[in-house]
């Protein structure tokens, strides 16, 4: 057990830290979605030019072949510095790794470089209105047609759909097969005909997500990743990369929030309130348990090669800590606090989705019970 960085890990961290001090563009302007997005595209370009985009991708695909630890150090430093996310985060964390793992040579050549450069943005078309937790019940159809497939259906909760060139799309190619087997994974061109993107406004007032409507939209055979009918396995890989790739940064971000909240509490003269102190201590312990649990998961993942179901605990923990943090912030700010559009109000409202997005807490508890503890599945 050694929680210090090795000499080379430390050198790597110093490199990143130094580079960030020079290059961190600061918070994105809150000038509406598009301006913010272009700002982040520029930031990704800067990262890419310095060789930090796709850090853990193999060198042959334009990455730096960094270890998981290095990737994790990089993510942490990025979050600690409060730099914005690169624009193409979904391509970097999910799309690219899936193409590397399951794509053919042509796909690797075609898709990987523009992901790194941020030239082509990726989005994810998995969830549907009627298939939330039960993802495999998805209904979007793909019908064979003329060297390709015609897609009809609806996706929701799609981030960046209006900016994206490519969509990681799950569609049902065989309605007769059992529900996990008739699904295929496509790289879908968002510029194709028959696609409509509508912003999906949230209770925060923001439109962070979109709905996508497909009406007989064409995608060629060459855009299938893996086997036709083998999309479920590819999707699982994607979700695994999602949880592993976004987890560490999310943990740092809640830690940053707690620091902000502690400053707010001092500013409001509440530092000596025993109940506030107790809640802050619980949050601090939650944040630390999240950070340390992440390190334990990383160690385990490096040995096993792939992330295990324990990651579900971290996701659950993160949602719980973030929601409690939002509630304490509102209590500290007092009755006139819930001012529409304020930063804390936004964080508070936004946190309510944390226990739903990326796996509801109920589903995560099922995973923990069945796959970690070995309890029987409910049939």
């Amino acid at each position: 057990m050694d929680l210090t960085l090795t000499t080379s890990e430390q050198a790597f961290r110093d490199e990143i830290r130094g580079w960030l001090e020079q290059n961190n563009p600061g918070a994105a302007p809150v000038a509406g979605d598009d301006a913010e997005f272009e700002f982040r595209r520029g930031w990704q370009k800067t990262m890419h030019e310095a060789g930090f985009a796709g850090l853990s991708w193999p060198e042959e695909y334009g990455g730096r072949g960094a270890s998981m630890i290095e990737q994790s150090i990089f993510n942490q430093e990025l979050a600690l510095s409060r730099a914005p996310m690169p624009a193409n985060v979904l391509g970097l964390v999910m799309g690219g790794p899936v193409v590397i793992a399951h794509g053919d040579t042509e796909q690797k050549e075609r898709y990987l470089e523009p992901i790194l450069s941020g030239e082509e943005i990726w989005c994810q078309g998995f969830s549907e209105p009627d298939s939330g937790s039960d993802l495999a019940s998805l209904k979007t159809r793909a019908v064979k047609s003329n060297g390709g497939w015609r897609i009809t259906g609806q996706k929701v909760w799609t981030t960046y759909a209006h900016e994206a060139k490519w969509c990681m799309l799950l569609a049902r190619t065989d309605p007769e097969s059992p529900k996990h087997r008739g699904i295929t994974y496509f790289i879908f061109d968002m510029e194709a005909d028959g696609v409509e993107v509508r912003p999906l406004r949230q209770i925060t007032g923001e439109a962070e997500f979109n709905e996508i409507f497909f009406e007989d939209a064409y995608v060629p055979d060459e855009n299938v990743v893996g086997e036709v009918g083998g999309g479920w396995q590819v999707a699982i890989t994607t979700l695994m990369f999602e949880r592993a790739g976004l987890g560490a940064a999310a943990a740092i971000s809640v830690s940053n929030s707690l620091d902000d909240l502690i400053a707010l509490i001092r500013e409001r003269g509440l530092a000596e309130d025993p109940m506030v102190r107790d809640r802050v201590a619980r949050l601090k312990m939650g944040v630390e348990a999240l950070r340390l649990g992440g390190m334990r998961t990383l160690t385990r993942t490096m040995k096993a090669g792939i992330p295990g179901p324990e990651g579900s605990l971290g996701k659950w923990e993160w949602a719980s800590v973030n929601q409690e943090l939002g509630e304490l912030a509102m209590d500290v700010l007092g009755p006139a606090a819930a001012v529409d559009g304020e930063e804390w109000t936004y964080r508070f409202l936004r946190s309510r989705a944390n226990s739903i997005e990326g796996g509801t807490t109920e589903v995560l508890k099922n995973i923990v019970a069945e796959r970690v503890l070995g309890l029987p599945k409910l049939r």
Binding site: Q202, G205, A338, T360
Partner: protein
Amino acid sequence: MNFDLNDEQRAIKDTARELLASRFKLDKVRELAESGSYDDAIWKEIGGLGWAGIAVPEEHGGQGLGIVELMLLCEEVGYACAPLPLFSSAAAGLVIASAGSDEQRERWLPELSSGQVTAGIPATAPEDDSVMIDADGAAVLAFDRGEGPRLAEPSEVEISGLDLIDRTRRYSQLSGEGGQEIPGEIDWALAAITIAFAGELTGLAQRAMEMAVEYARDREQFGRPIGAYQGVSHACAKMLYDVEEARSLTYYAAWCADAQPESLPLAASMAKARASEAAWDVAAASLQVHGGIAFTWEHDLQFFLKRARVSSGLYGTPRRHRNRVADIAGLGSLEPATA
């Protein structure tokens, strides 16, 4: 002993439920919330029924009923999430009726009770930035800026709007000390107001629960309605637990205001603390049962969720009321807590 509504109370509640349901379909609530306004025509109709004066003595143009009846109306306003200046007008009426001078009563109570004018009323102690409810557009304001209770017309003070996340009610902040003193003792009225507000919170919780239960019956995942999973059904059972505790304590407190004043301070604080927590906990749990759909702007649960959160902090935070409960329950007084 009979802990149930009598026929008249039942009729008041049922009528209010029905009328509010027809006037405030959720599309209407949405429309008003998005424009941040009230519907004057609906207020004219409902105000004209004398709801705001339900607990005001008949000699002042009210209906001469009690806090139980007012609380029931507020519960239904909460259930409907209705953008309506009922609570504020009724609350100002209670203050004036119980503590105003004869002149103040004559000047304001008949018009307030018959809904011809509306009133604004503070929802926080002066040290908490004085959040006012419905001051904007009111004919008269009852407030206390730390120098004792006063009554003023809007032109005599300064009002600045406050855009809270709850858009189904109008909030503002007040400055200035205009108007005239309210001479009487307002403790009873403040307790009664708090209880009426707890009624509103109970109604919000009830509706948020019903929305969750209905969704859990209909929505299928993995081949079953989600309400068949204990992860969901037990969460719904906990909602009922919360709602029923809030209702028991709120109804009891309202009855104390009418019939057993010696129990009022404890009862009012218990009601407000419990109903505040119930409204927020149930609304948040309802969102979780709904999943992503209720996180969208197009879903109506948000109105209940946001009103519950904002309302829970008004008329004393739950923690402040619990501090008072501890005092009365035998632990003695302690400087009120702040968060």
